[in-house]
Amino acid sequence: MSKGILTDVTKCIGCLKCVSACKETHHLEADEPRIWQKNDGLSAENWTSIIRKENNRYVRKQCRHCLEPACASVCPVGAMHKTKIGAVVYDSSKCLGCRYCMMACPFGIPRYEWDKAVPYVEKCILCYDRIKEGEQPACTTVCPQQATIFGERSELLKIAHKRIKENPGKYINKVWGEHEVGGTSVLYLSDIDLGFLSYPTKLGNEPLPEKTATAMESVPFAFVGMGGIMLGLNWIIRRRMENSKEQNKPNRFINKKKEPADE
């Protein structure tokens, strides 16, 4: 039931129709280049962009809608969440503005309205309102080359592998987004390396939220454990002090370092 998008870089002609369709659908304002933007064309007013590469290659950048999104896992109030349908959506009414999602996103997607006094996080929401009603996202509807298509993620994967098989040598034998960080709903087929869509380090196939899971699961134990250690220490030291009082040796333990319990 998880939907997704497959973008075939070899088919894209860079017409930017997806970009303008996105702006129109989500009523995004015209934007001017500001110094706080990255140079990938995404901004609070641009949820998708076309990155131009050598030899007339155009790569569409948008939210990858990870299967196990880091942004949703780190949001302290759960303003980001992964819907059953596949889209990672944002609830601005919950948001605090901590920008942890922007820090945690392995693809550097979420953008901030830095110029507003009441700023929100902005990113592609896979046209959640449209796909809920059985429609396609705006960007895939307008693509004149069918370079970016919408469908069930599993079917898109089949199509991708089929294209690689049928056109030997045309593509790099890899579907971007199939396994990285546990898989993403937005997939890419390409004949050029798409490593630039994420940070320089390789991402690995382990979902990012699992990296914090161990630490978060041990929180209750650390809490109770520290309390136990402190109470135990206190009990031992107090008992020893009482003993020393009985033996009329005041302050015997006061000027010594804390010692392991040897009683």
Binding site: G14, E32, S49, A70, C95, P119, T212, L231, N234
Partner: protein
């Protein structure tokens, strides 16, 4: 007591200045008052104020653990000031969070919307609870001065042990969870700092920092109030710190070696140098200094050593919190002066409250002995002479409030909104097209020019029977015979010459006001009086003015009768040129086959700049930030309104 007075004056000055900046930050937003960007969404306020602040406040839980749990009663003189510092530290953290958060008024959402997977959720809760616990722990001290609250005080004193225990447990959690915050970013944090045991490293270093913070604070406040320093107690703290620092160092090194990252330490990059400096300052040098029994008891060594640990560990928090992410994000971030002053201001505010508490409440076992140190006797009114018998303390208060107000005003003066707004590239100016027979259009100066064969276009218009005939306007223009300039240039406007597009469409992405008011009123221009255009007795606005066509009868430019203010705006440069070229070529491509595919941007935007044209032209003012950006077609409002 000049030392205290001068310090306070400086603190008040900084606080006032920071208050003005903070006000501006809430009016204008984060973008213009900070150097934060989409690449570096967390900056100094998180790295230093929050991460560093929480670590600096670790003194509270460390000293209470030593005093209440381990029953080391000789540390009693240090407990109350340390708890006070911890409480103020957390207040400072919350204040800086309020400045840093985009929507600070939603901070309470953490109480009702839960996401237990998030380390930040846990940190937030712990900070909230621990600040409350610290308040309960400390409040018996100020309550002592008010006898009517004795009951509350007794109640709080009864549960003090519970509060202390809770405080230690909560601190353990969030000191370590600050490290867990970064576990999810293995792709960003430089490998030397990233570790699966970051939470443990953070906790151990926080204990070391806590010990040193108690020591340093005792040294500073005794210097400030010219008291005899508690050298023996501080020496004990320093000796304990040796063990903690050694543990920290071992844990860190074993982790690095086990992960096979040892080679990275000496690879010569700036990160590796930073790592070496950080470890030297935060652990190795101070631990070695304190390990020598002779040195640990010396006041100077204590000053230097404790400061080094504090500086080093806070540097570690800043490193993990963003400084070492720059290699991955490719951005550069230096805090703007506003960010630095807000950080300083919050620290100054906390320091002022600390001094207030020391002077008014029984924080120290021995109150400051100098009479000036307790300057809270208010002036009394003498009825017989009808004068206020003032004390020097009032002049001090006046001085402080004046300092605050003046520095606030200076702060406001330095932050004019207009100046701040221009930080974004608004009103992006267009460069003229250059060349002769062939024009090179490089409006946005990104060096991806459009080569426009001007002569060829003219020749084509002259010789060919224009396929565009049929369109009323063009028909009109072509009737001018061989001179078909008007097919592209607005020759229908009175006084129009063959002018560059960029003369009117002066802005790259924004619409431009077309109506030149100054020219209409100037003696060189139309020499009009106000009443010539604006109806007398009405507000002089665009609405009350006569329509352009009432004078410019030959004016065929598309202005409909329902004129509104928007009509005075013309398209941006990008839109004007795209519409001019694309609309013509689109129509043409239906008739003539094998024409360039205009849907491909690169059909036009790919020409390299010819070398003979580079010399003497300003085209090389390219903006490195935006070289890869392709900006979408901006839809101006005017087009939408016309459609309606």
């Amino acid at each position: 007591m000049n030392r205290v007075r001068n310090t306070k004056l400086i603190l008040w000055l900084i606080t006032g200045f920071a208050a003005a900046i903070a006000l501006n930050r809430f009016i204008f937003g984060l973008g213009v008052t900070t150097n934060l960007t989409d690449r570096t969404p967390w900056g100094l306020w998180i790295g230093f104020d929050v991460m560093g602040g929480v670590a600096l406040a670790a003194g509270g839980f460390v000293i209470t653990a030593i005093f209440y749990m381990m029953k080391r009663e000789e540390f009693h003189p240090l407990v109350k000031p340390a708890v006070l510092t911890a409480f103020l530290g957390y207040v400072a953290v919350v204040l800086s969070l309020l400045v840093d958060l985009g929507l600070p008024w939603n901070i309470w959402h953490m109480i009702i919307f839960w996401n237990p997977h998030s380390p930040l959720f846990e940190v937030g809760w712990c900070v909230m609870l621990y600040t409350t616990v610290l308040l309960l722990e400390f409040s018996p001290v100020p309550l002592e001065s008010f006898s009517r609250y004795a009951r509350i005080r007794n109640f709080l004193m009864k549960f003090r042990f519970v509060f202390v225990l809770l405080g230690i447990m909560l601190s353990t959690l969030h000191q370590s969870s600050l490290g867990s915050l970064f576990l999810i970013m293995p792709f960003k944090v430089y490998p030397l700092w990233y570790s699966y045991i970051l939470p443990i490293q953070f906790f151990i270093s926080a204990v070391a920092l806590g010990l040193m913070m108690v020591a340093f604070e005792s040294l500073v406040s005794h210097w400030l109030f010219k008291r005899k320093p508690e050298t023996d107690l501080v020496a004990k703290l320093c000796k304990t710190a040796v063990w903690v620092l050694a543990t920290y160092f071992l844990v860190k090194m074993i982790d690095i070696i086990a992960e096979g990252k040892f080679g990275l330490i000496f690879n010569g990059s700036w990160e590796s140098n930073l790592f070496i400096v950080e470890v030297l300052i935060s652990t190795i040098i101070p631990a070695m200094m304190f390990a020598v029994p002779k040195f640990a008891g010396k006041s100077k060594v204590q000053w230097i050593g404790s400061f080094m640990v504090i500086f080093g560990v806070v540097l570690n928090r800043i490193d993990v919190g963003g400084l070492t992410m720059l290699w991955a994000t490719g951005g550069s971030y230096t805090p703007l002066w506003t960010e630095i002053f807000i950080s300083l201001g919050i620290v100054s505010f906390a320091a002022l409250v600390f001094l207030f508490a020391i002077e008014h409440f029984h924080v120290w076992d021995l109150q400051p002995k100098e009479p000036d140190a307790l300057p809270h006797t208010l002036p009394s009114f003498d009825y017989s002479s009808k004068t206020w018998l003032g004390t020097p303390d009032v002049s001090g208060l006046t001085k402080y409030s004046l300092a605050f107000v003046i520095s606030f005003a200076v702060g406001m003066f330095l932050m004019p909104g207009k100046h701040l707004h221009s930080k974004g590239i608004e009103n992006f100016k267009v460069t003229h097209a250059s060349g002769f027979d062939t024009l090179y259009v490089n409006g946005n100066r990104d060096d991806q020019l459009v080569k426009f064969p001007h002569e060829a276009h003219i020749a084509w218009l002259r010789t060919h029977k224009n396929p565009l005939v049929g369109d009323g306007n063009f028909n009109n223009m072509l009737s001018m015979g061989t001179d078909s300039c008007s097919a592209c240039h607005h020759l229908s406007i009175p006084g129009e010459k063959l002018s560059n597009c960029s003369e009117c469409h002066t802005r790259m992405y924004t619409q431009v006001d077309f109506f030149n008011h100054n020219w209409h009123t100037s003696s060189d221009g139309a020499k009009l009086r106000c009443d010539d255009c604006h109806k007398p007795g009405m507000n002089r606005s665009a609405q009350s003015a006569k329509h352009c066509t009432s004078c410019h009868t030959t004016y065929k430019f598309a202005i409909n009768k329902k004129s509104s203010v928007e009509n005075y705006y013309i398209l941006s440069y990008t839109d004007a040129l795209h519409k001019l070229c694309v609309s013509c070529h689109m129509k043409e491509s239906k008739i003539v086959k094998d024409k360039p595919n205009l849907a491909l941007c690169s059909t036009c935007h790919k020409t390299q700049l010819p070398e003979n044209l580079t010399a003497g032209l300003n085209w090389k003012i390219s903006l490195p930030h935006f070289n890869n950006v392709i900006l979408p077609d901006v839809k101006p409002e005017i087009a939408d309104k016309d459609k309606k």
